[in-house]
């Protein structure tokens, strides 16, 4: 395969699959099976092009996680008329995302703009979903789109700042995180679970591409926004009673840690990639688990459901493991990435570390509160409990396995070779030696 055409093929296969899937749209089960197969189609292509991908910003192993994330999200999806549109859109987003990651130059920007536009369109079309918050999300995605346009047309440093803003809408950074939060709440079917991995991955890729052009002054603002976002996300997560919003704000606060690290050190070592993917998988896992509850009991408030530990042991085991992973406990990827980032010589010893560690402590509070509320307590006699089906079990098991793999594999396997920034943010309260 010609290396120049590889990004085109990588994007085209899932897009073509989505188009072909329209012929199955009256048969949902067949459509689901078709989507599962097509979502895995990029994997052999990535393996075949592994050598050519070396030296780019991503290793084939990491790119391969996106099709797997799509596969897992579709696998856990309950077959329902309302989710008919979600299945082909999964393939569309997968194609656009993979293409945006691998393609460079104008094609990459075009594909990423199409991705943002598709998300905004989806949010608009499904604005009637109860509890959806589309307008703020659509506005944030519009900011991202505008950033991409400016980055394409303008010259540095304007283009750098514009692309930085665009990446902040995908790898969520307050105050332009609306699109990320809206995706969790306003997208149908399995799309929130898939978006939880896809959006941060694309945003992170943009950030890596910008690294050489980012000066210390440019990084100061993201560093401060990251700290503010970590606190804001934690406080918002504490007040929510809807699981999707808890998970969305948890993602915001945990990704803020990544933003702060990159801004403070001016680098993105392999541990940062591990952390990114682990947080994405954890949030995706929670959404899949909650989807299983919704499929059985509808869109319930968290306070209305409890005591699932005994009647649903498989579900409870997975949710508890996800909770442990989310709060940064070993041997999962969030811990490995977080510890790996903190134990780098370039980490500045500043007062901001207290905010970072406090963010993880807050995550312990609301994530474990969520798990405890769901799993423990007396169960309700008016509910009929049914444990996970094999497909749901398989998808959550795969998420856990991936989190474990990210936790224990040597980070050098995931080395992206990303260049460092030209500077790093200096902070006012530094412990000098």
């Amino acid at each position: 395969m010609d290396a120049a055409l590889f990004p085109v093929w990588l994007a085209a296969v899932p897009l073509a699959g989505a188009a072909a899937g329209l012929s199955f749209r009256s048969r949902i089960r067949a459509l689901q099976t078709w989507t599962l197969l097509v979502s895995l189609a990029p994997l052999p292509m990535l393996l075949a092009m592994a050598d050519q991908l070396r030296g780019t910003s991503w290793s084939p192993w990491l790119l391969g996680l996106l099709p797997v994330a799509a596969f897992v999200s579709v696998l856990a999806q309950t077959v329902h008329q309302e989710s008919r549109s979600a299945l082909p859109m999964t393939l569309v987003l997968l194609g656009l995302g993979l293409g945006a990651l691998v393609a460079g130059g104008g094609l990459g920007v075009l594909l990423q703009a199409a991705l943002l536009g598709s998300l905004a369109a989806l949010l608009y079309c499904h604005r009637h979903i109860p509890g959806a918050v589309p307008w703020g999300g659509i506005a944030a995605l519009a900011v991202g789109l505008a950033g991409l346009v400016v980055a394409w047309l303008a010259s540095p440093p304007m283009s750098t700042l514009a692309l930085l803003a665009a990446s902040a809408t995908l790898l969520p950074l307050a105050p332009v995180h609306g699109g990320y939060v809206a995706a969790f709440r306003g997208l149908p079917g399995n799309l929130p679970a898939f978006s939880a991995v896809l959006l941060p991955a694309v945003g992170f890729h943009d950030l890596l591409m910008l690294m050489p052009d980012l000066s210390a002054e440019m990084l100061r603002v993201p560093a401060m926004l990251a700290l503010a976002g970590a606190i804001f996300g934690s406080l918002k997560a504490l007040t929510q009673s809807r699981v999707r919003l808890i998970v969305a704000y948890a993602g915001l606060s945990l990704f803020a840690i990544l933003w702060w690290y990159i801004a403070a050190t001016g680098s993105a070592p392999p541990q940062a990639t591990v952390y990114l993917l682990a947080v994405g998988l954890v949030t995706s896992g929670f959404l899949l688990a909650w989807h299983a509850v919704q499929a059985r009991y509808g869109e319930v408030d968290l306070r209305a459901i409890r005591g699932l530990a005994y009647p649903m042991p498989r579900f409870s085991t997975f949710v508890f493991l996800l909770a442990l992973a989310a709060i940064g406990l070993p041997p999962f990827g969030v811990y490995a990435g977080f510890m790996g980032m903190l134990l780098t010589p370039s980490l500045p010893l500043t007062a901001a570390l207290a905010v970072i560690i406090g963010t993880l402590l807050a995550a312990c509070w609301y994530v474990l509160g969520l798990a405890q509320q769901l799993l423990f307590g007396g169960h309700r006699s008016d509910l009929r409990y049914r444990d996970l089906y094999p497909a749901e079990t398989a998808s959550l098991a795969l998420i856990i396995v991936l989190l474990l793999a990210l936790g224990v594999l040597p980070p050098r396997l995931l080395d992206s070779g990303a260049p460092a920034a030209s500077g790093h943010a200096t902070e006012p309260f530094t412990w000098t030696r």
Binding site: G137, A174, P175, F232, M339, L342, A354, L368, P411, W431
Partner: protein, 567 residues
């Protein structure tokens, strides 16, 4: 030597055996599950003998200079300290497992409970055998999770709330521990125990927190942060509140917690003794926290109304004692203390479980009549106790000078050992005063025997056990030197405690003789006034609850203000 790695992993076989069983086979497999646990105990003993004869063994599965995965540098370090701890953990784990196999029969979640217990034992063994700070921290955190799972009874609301509070408190301490590790790595570039202390000693660093205002030594900052982590696990004031709420757990769990888990803090300080020896500030703070914990734990114990709570607060007091010993530089004594306490407390908890079980079957229990009558003790008994208590210091002084050649006046540490010896034997004798004096000579002989046992044990701890754990006397002297308190303060503390003990004797004697002790009115009033705060555990639960509510109010405020403006 690599086979030593199997010792911490053997209890995992028990976990597997227990989990594969179903129904009746579960109980049979649970009994067979005792085999790997017993094997782990014998393995630990063999490890101790091997280490004592051949020296420490380190097995690393990573490059110490540049670990490929800094988050998981897996390595095991078997030295005298870890071997002693492994023997203790496996011994207690074996006893508790054998007890639990029968005690928890017919209970819901039987297999899960046994599996969690043995998983905890395995994690504790891995923790004490860790080769570096990060691996120790990995298992430290996993033990926190195990505590949460073990202490949690799914359908019981107070237990749920208590378990959540426990996890929040412990996780807070764990994350401060993490901050200490990050700071240590940032300052000294290593996570290896010995290298950390060597680099800290070779290149002292000053941290400027506030230019011109607050400066702190690097070693002090690191040890302080690590100590907060130790405070959480070892139930030090004010992070001790998770202990009472964990008492809803089954009795074997309480035994494992109080005999095994709470020792983690003392172990951590011992493991990092060379680093702690570089910071007198931290050691003094450790001492202070220990004293406050001793006093609060003992006072809180006095107002409890049931067995488990009484034992729970007793543990808090004892852990305060242990930490206080660390704060005085008596690290080996702290290890000795935690071993003795672990064995004693496990016995007490398992016995109380037995009593509770019997009480469920025999509703007339407890049937032992309460006696409120005065103790009828002979003057000879009192005289023996009184004289030995007062003369004991002189006897020990002469004995140690003559027999052990310990430079008493030069070392606060030696005085510490003697003082603890005297306090312990006095306490033992005071306790014996509750015996009904059938014949006063018997009681007097028992007192003298107790005295001899305590003196021998403490001198053994002072000399032999210290030498076993810390073979280099220069190290021991350095730790005592670092922890030395200002002379007048030290003398005041020792003198004050001596006076309190003697006054206690006098009051007790007067009470039993039917004499009325004239107490000042303010003192009587104080006793009554203190009762309510003690019953409310110094209102710390309320303070934590208010702190939590304050955070939630802030979160709700932010949520309201952001509504409509920021998604």
């Amino acid at each position: 030597m690599s086979a030593l790695v199997l010792v911490p992993l053997l209890p995992l076989l028990t976990v597997a055996l227990v989990l594969i069983g179903r129904g009746a086979s579960c109980e049979r497999l649970a009994r067979w599950g005792a085999v790997p646990v017993v094997a782990a105990f014998f393995g630990a003993v063999a490890t101790l003998i091997l280490i004592a004869s051949r020296g420490a063994v380190t097995i690393r599965f990573y490059e110490a200079a540049a670990p490929a995965s800094p988050a998981f540098p897996i390595g095991f370090h078997f030295d005298r300290l870890s071997a002693v701890m492994m023997v203790l953990i496996t011994a207690i784990g074996t006893i508790i497992y054998l007890y639990s196999v029968r005690y928890m029969q017919q209970e819901r979640g039987y297999a899960r409970f046994l599996a969690l217990m043995m998983l905890t034992v395995s994690m504790l063994l891995c923790m004490v055998a860790s080769a570096n700070l990060v691996m120790l921290f990995v298992f430290w955190q996993l033990v926190t999770v195990q505590l949460y799972l073990l202490a949690n009874r799914h359908e019981h609301r107070p237990t749920l709330d208590g378990a959540f509070k426990m996890l929040t408190l412990l996780r807070t301490a764990d994350l401060v521990f993490l901050a200490g590790i990050v700071l240590a790595y940032g300052l000294y570039g290593t996570i290896e125990f010995r290298e950390l202390a060597d680099r800290a000693a070779a290149a002292p660093v000053m941290l400027t927190l506030w230019p011109g205002v607050i400066e702190i030594r690097g070693a002090t900052a690191v040890t302080l942060l690590l100590f907060v982590g130790a405070m959480g696990k070892s139930v030090q004031f004010p992070l001790h509140l998770w202990m009472p709420v964990s008492l809803y757990a089954p009795t074997p769990v309480s035994a494992l917690m109080h005999a095994g888990l709470v020792n983690a803090g003392g172990f951590l300080i011992n493991r990092l003794a060379p680093l702690y020896g570089l910071s007198d500030t931290t050691l003094h703070l450790v001492f202070l926290v220990g004293i406050v914990t001793v006093v609060s734990g003992a006072c809180l114990m006095l107002v409890q109304g049931d067995i488990k709570n009484t034992l729970g607060f007793s543990t808090i007091g004892q852990m305060g004692y242990m930490i206080m010993e660390c704060g005085l530089g008596a690290f080996a004594l702290a290890v000795f203390h935690l071993i003795a306490h672990g064995l004693f407390k496990a016995t007490a908890f398992l016995n109380c479980g037995h009593v509770i079980h019997r009480a469920r079957r025999e509703p007339v229990l407890p049937h032992a009549p309460h006696t409120t009558g005065e103790h009828d003790l002979q003057r000879l008994t009192w005289a023996t106790g009184f004289v030995t208590t007062l003369l004991l210091p002189l006897v020990i002084l002469l004995a140690t000078h003559g027999l052990l050649d310990m430079p008493l006046l030069d070392s606060q540490g030696t005085v510490v050992f003697l003082f603890f010896t005297w306090i312990t034997s006095s306490q033992a004798i005071l306790t014996l005063t509750r015996l009904r004096a059938v014949a006063s000579w018997k009681v007097s002989t028992a007192m003298l025997g107790t005295l001899g046992l305590v003196v021998f044990t403490y001198l053994f701890a002072a000399e032999t056990f210290t030498h076993f754990l810390y073979p280099d006397p220069a190290d021991v002297a350095r730790y005592f030197q670092a922890a030395a308190l200002p002379g007048r303060l030290f003398d005041g503390l020792v003198g004050g405690t001596v006076v309190v003990t003697i006054v206690g004797w006098i009051c007790l004697y007067a009470q039993t003789q039917g004499r009325v002790m004239r107490m000042p009115a303010w003192l009587e009033d104080l006793r009554l006034r203190l009762y309510v705060p003690l019953l409310n555990r110094f209102y710390l639960d309320m303070l934590y609850a208010r702190l939590g509510h304050g955070v939630m109010r802030l979160a709700n405020d932010v949520d309201k203000r952001a509504a409509g403006r920021v998604p």
